[in-house]
């Protein structure tokens, strides 16, 4: 479903070239739950941005659902993001001026769904995260865990092939974090692939595969082997 061959990223300024990611190969199959771990500044977010088509890579090839995305236009990449990828962020990234319904509906507005279908998808997504009865509320009226659930509903509303989660529990206490992890596992169990960046090794261990990034170098280990911090 996701295949990267010799993908690398170099940031170039006037005077300095920085190798953010060394060339790497990676393949994630449909339905897999993959964790990405590594110290701050190691390149985790850069990797996730490349995987999410938010950032270009400087070398290699990236195939998403067997489609080479290297030379896609901005509009084509946007459509692919909208249809195939769901994003979950550490700080939820909900728009405070919009209520929950409108927040969840936002990605659907960039697709040719009818208003009726958008409404049904929003309600279904909010139902999955247990917040259907609060669709008229605003983000600031919710707890952190609830806000992250809304963000997950937003990611799910478009029925993506896989979710990219950037430290989804980073701003939550342990109880809320457990709830979110449980929800992600349920989503994964229903067939959606998940690629999750986390600092929490216990959470990382709940994935089937763990990718470690250190100084821009990707290495992979099975979850059961545990990653040394």
């Amino acid at each position: 479903m996701l295949k990267m061959s010799n993908v690398a990223k170099i940031y170039v300024t006037d005077t300095v070239k920085t190798q953010a990611l060394q060339p790497f190969n990676l393949e994630i199959k449909a339905g897999e739950f993959v964790s990405v771990v590594g110290p701050s500044g190691s390149g985790k977010t850069t990797f996730l941005n490349i995987a999410g088509l938010l950032e270009d890579y400087t070398e290699g090839n990236y195939y998403l659902n067997n489609q080479d995305v290297t030379h896609l236009s901005d509009t084509q990449k946007s459509r692919l993001r909208n249809e195939k990828i769901g994003f979950i962020f550490q700080s939820f990234n909900l728009i405070p001026e919009l209520n929950l319904f409108d927040n969840v509906e936002m990605p659907l507005r960039y697709r040719s769904f009818s208003a009726k279908e958008r409404k049904q998808r929003v309600i279904d997504a909010l139902t999955k995260v247990g917040l259907a009865n609060r669709q008229a509320h605003y983000p600031q009226q919710l707890s952190g865990g609830q806000q992250q659930r809304v963000a997950i509903a937003r990611a799910l509303a478009g029925s993506p092939s896989f979710l990219l989660a950037d430290e989804p529990t980073g701003n939550l206490d342990s109880n809320m974090a457990d709830g979110i992890m449980s929800l992600l596992k349920d989503i994964n169990a229903s067939g959606t692939s998940i690629l999750m960046v986390t600092h929490d090794l216990e959470q990382a261990d709940q994935a089937e595969r763990i990718i470690e990034i250190k100084d821009g170098v990707l290495t992979e280990s099975l979850a059961s082997q545990k990653v040394v911090a």
Partner: protein, 421 residues
Amino acid sequence: MIATIAIGIAATMVTYTVNYMMTQDPVPSKSDRLFTVHLSSWDPNMSYKLKDGKEDIPIYLTYQDATNLYADKKADKQTIISFHKAMVRAGEQPSGMATMTYLRPTTHEFFSMLEVPFLYGSPWGIEDDSGGNPVVVLSKKKNQQLFRGENSLGKEVLIGGLIYRVVGVLDDWTPLPRFYTTRSEAYTEPRGVFIPFQSSVNNNWLSGTDGSVYCWGEVNFVDLESVKSSECVWLFYWIELSSPKKRDDYLAYINNYAQEQRSMGRFQREQMNRLMDVSEYIEYNEVIKEDGNIAVWLAVAFLIACLLNSMSLMMTKFHGKGSEVGLRRAVGASKINIACQFSCETVIVGLCGGIIGLMLAQLGLHITAQVYSHLHAELMEMNFELMILTVVLSVLSSSIFGLYPIYRACQIQPSSHLKSL
């Protein structure tokens, strides 16, 4: 942002409205077919005046020339326009209610040539002109003053102590600029009382009590016959031709007339006889001053300053929305989607600015009308087209000045803003 645009739009539109209304074509259906006639009848020993360093001729005719040309009736229509002022009251009003009123002695063609609308009745007839009958046409405002706006046809009006009978009442009529006399009257209301020119002659109302009479040679102002046969110029003379192409023919006619007069000892100066159509006469009279255009350009400069300020505010606002842009891009919005979203915002900002600016402009025009109460009130009134223009200008200008902020917003890298929402 909206307030900035609104203030800029209001200032621009107040200035533009006054300038626009001042430069309207007062008779668009025939402004190229109406001509004023000017003759070189002045003193052979001294020029009438200099204009732009060159000799100029009077814009008025002598009584004898005006009546001669009028009697010839060589144009399709022609009219003599004079002036006088007298105490006026309705016959049924007590004498103490008489007010000093500016009169407009003219001929019956005046009304059809200038497309004057009538509320009641009609212009007086040819026989009233030739006989100088005591008939009067009142403006709507004067009819309101004298007869409370009622149908006053047949009623008596005392003008200078003489009884006149009302034959017509005008509807609202506000030619802007009021081109057919002098520059000083261009933006004042039309006179309220119209009487046959011959009637004013019969009444010996030839004195220039409220207008200019320029003379050379011998004249005795006490003796009517002396004034009538003098070289004093004081009458406006306008003609209407069925086609602008007939202009040359009519000019040839007045040149021939001048030659005839020359052979009789008059018109001894170089002949500079001329016809001027409405726009030429307005330009000659300098009714529309260059100052007005400069004021409009200054107002436009102020608007641009406001728009630049607004653009800066937009930049700040859109930059502040960088994380929202990043989020929208992440969930599938293309740059085009982002551009559309912010374009909608700039249009709405422009629309709101335009509507508020329109209200401010109305307020500004109202205040201007109060300050310049001696000018015609319609100068300070926006017509429907100007109202639409105000809003369209606001939307258009805010959209144009929003292009760069929108472009910058579209360049936002989503990956660099997603952690800051």
